[in-house]
Amino acid sequence: MIALLTRDLKLAVRAGGGFGLGLAFFLILVALVAFGVGPESALLARIAPGILWVGALLACLLSLDRIFALDREDGSLDLLATAPLPMEGIVTVKALAHWITTGLPLVVAAPLLALMLSLPGEGYLWLFLSLLLGTPALSVLGTFGAALTVGLKRGGLLMSLIVLPLYVPTLIFGAEVARRGAGGLSVEVPLLLLAGITCATLALLPFASAAVLRVNLR
């Protein structure tokens, strides 16, 4: 399992863009929203938590189809399936690798981008925490979508259509934490709900992902 994780991370670094592309996309998205909405900082500050959450979500989505597609093309997936690793373990490691290469950089970068959107001072900690808690769920859900569409020739768009509705609860609670935090309100309830969703997703969804991956390997 650790070998698989280190291999995936190594590949992400060597293939280029593993870490960088998602971040660059995040930056561009934030800039584009600012262009679209106008430079008025009071307005930007108000919508900053939402923009950053939606941005993080889309940046996550961008690299999902690579999770299994490359391994499927070169036959590694067949070989991994016959290796002594449980399929549930494989999809969990894949999700973890995706989170480290995509989710974690976004979490770290989000406060910087929040600065550009003049997020109020109280909001940074909660924005950071909500993303830290929420992005693992995004990766795990995305892995499910990727496993579901791995056998399809042009699965990217279909995968977005399937994965994005699954992101709704995480997005709502995550953005709510950030928004309430920025407004100086109590964040306890949405934060707990967000944590609950992430934990439940991490615990249960790998079984579904493994099941669909097995079906797709047939």
Partner: protein
């Protein structure tokens, strides 16, 4: 007693549903015509909402079937995963577009109703938003069926998606309620005392009888369409199997 699973044989299913279909269709027409005509022309206008309230005879039954359609797909998916009856998977496939259209009807009639009542076509109300999300789930499900070539693979994948989607649809519903408390009135039909009471927020008994009739009509309509479409799916599947056999020689 014969096992219910006997009807899971495609041939048996087609025979049985052929025999049932005229009856179901006839009952559908009766219920819908009587329910809708009664509702539209022979009930008084609501004193506050005027005649706009009459769209309830379309809106509520469509919303009912939008949710129950998904529920039926969930059951059919579970049956496919557990007992591997092809008819079950094909019935789920057949139900999806019907459910999606019901969702559109519920959303559209809701918008038409909402315009005079709330002064806007669309609000980000929890119920409306939940239905929008449900519609997205329907779309993803239908698209996945269409995209996967092998029928059994598609059935497996969509079944698992249906289960995961059900969980997340329910989660989304609660999340959306948390996110925004809405304008929409509460569920008014089944609430205790709805039949007896004539409080303005509830559906009073003048409206109840035609509403239940048109709800029954929509349920039967759904059943008839699912039977018909499942037959079509079975024949299409059979055709693909024969073509695959042909290609193999």
């Amino acid at each position: 007693m014969k096992s219910i699973w006997e009807y899971a044989n495609p041939k048996k299913f087609i025979e049985t549903s052929q025999a049932l279909l005229p009856w179901v269709t006839g009952l559908t027409v009766v219920c819908m015509v009587v329910g809708l005509v009664w509702g539209f022309f022979f009930t008084p206008d609501d004193y506050r909402q005027g005649s706009t309230v009459k769209i309830i005879y379309l809106h509520v039954p469509a919303a009912l079937m939008a949710i129950n359609g998904w529920f039926m797909m969930l059951l059919a998916s579970l049956i496919w995963l557990i007992r591997r009856h092809h008819v079950s998977a094909l019935a789920a496939r057949a139900a999806a577009p019907i459910g999606a259209v019901m969702t559109i009807i519920a959303l559209a009639t809701g918008a038409i109703w909402g315009q005079p009542m709330w002064g806007t076509w669309w609000v980000w109300d929890p119920r409306l938003t939940s239905f929008l999300i449900l519609f997205l789930f329907y779309l993803g499900y239908i698209a996945l069926w269409a995209a996967v070539e092998d029928d059994d693979t598609a059935a497996d994948l969509t079944s698992i998606l249906c289960i995961v989607g059900s969980v997340f649809a329910v989660l989304s519903r609660y999340a959306v309620h948390f996110w925004n408390q809405g304008l929409h009135q509460g569920a008014s039909v089944m609430r205790a005392g709805a039949l007896a009471g004539d409080t303005e927020e509830r559906v009073s008994n003048v409206f109840a009888a035609p509403l239940f009739l048109s709800m029954a009509g929509f349920v039967l309509f759904f059943v008839a369409l699912v039977l018909l479409r499942t037959q079509t799916e079975i024949r299409a599947r059979r055709m693909r199997a024969l073509m695959a056999r042909e290609r193999r020689g």
